[in-house]
Amino acid sequence: MGDKKKQKMTPEQQQYQELEQKHELKRPVVKNCIKAFLVGGLICTIGQAITYFYIYFFNFTEQTAGNPTVATMIFLSMLLTGFGVYDHIGQFAGAGSAVPVTGFGNSVISAAIEHRTEGFVLGVGGNMFKLAGSVILFGVFAAFVVALVKTLLTMMGVL
């Protein structure tokens, strides 16, 4: 895609962009990845601890403990989002706090809180999924396609 874009540009634009690149502050990729790894890993470890908490003290098995764990993580995400902490974690950790479900929760909750000023129906209701909606769309649709293909292949005896 980048090449296609470049072809459309005039020589003048290309020349400018080369000049601009020199001054552009590079993203510290390695540093960002280390931070993402540590924070993302930590969030998953907390998730693991919560899973074991539910297995230990309540009647959940390893598999059924998944649901309450996710719900608890999103509850924590709500508190952190509401108290204005999650956006600072996000700036530090990048994908480390965006990829875990807490990040999914954060995208829903932050939009809901933000648009409260436009009312509960049009504001909160209408904007809650403006960030997370694509995740749901592609999740559900990809799942549909994968399940369909797999079922068809199984029926045809390929698998």
């Binding site: 990729v29 960002n32 990845c33 993402a36 790894f37 993302g40 890993g41 930590l42 969030i43 998953c44 470890t45 998730g47 693991q48 601890a49 919560i50 390893e62 998944g66 649901n67 996710v70 719900a71 999103i74 995400s77 709500m78 989002t81 509401g82 108290f83 990048g94 994908a95 480390g96 965006a98 990829v99 875990p100 479900v101 807490t102 990040g103 999914f104 929760g105 995208s107 829903v108 909750i109 932050s110 939009a111 809901a112 809180i113 648009h115 409260r116 909160v124 809650m128 997370a132 694509s134 995740v135 592609f138 999740g139 559900v140 799942a143 549909f144 399940a147 369909l148 079922t151 029926m155």
Partner: protein, 118 residues
Amino acid sequence: MLPMFFWAFVVGGLICVFGQLMFDIVKLTPGHTMSLLVVIGAVLDGFGLYEPLIDFAGAGATIPITSFGNSLVHGALQEAEQHGLVGVLTGMFEITSSGISAAVIFGFIGALIFKPKG
């Protein structure tokens, strides 16, 4: 149990690093990255690779958003096993992800009690 924590940390962290590379190298927006990860999760489960990863890394595989695609495929396939092709369709209507329900509920509660801090 202790190795479980270790592997949850490592696997979860690595999935996040993958996301970070999508951000920084491919320059995708968070929305694009998350959508991509969900699709990857669904496809991996289609090949039967995601369940072993959950067995191995626990929350390291269930907490990242990829598990969302996995759980949706799982639900659909379960129905399909019982009802065939129709099951894929009906399965899609029955399954939900706890993540979505929790996010909806806590999102609304959040909007009731919090104000953005800016």
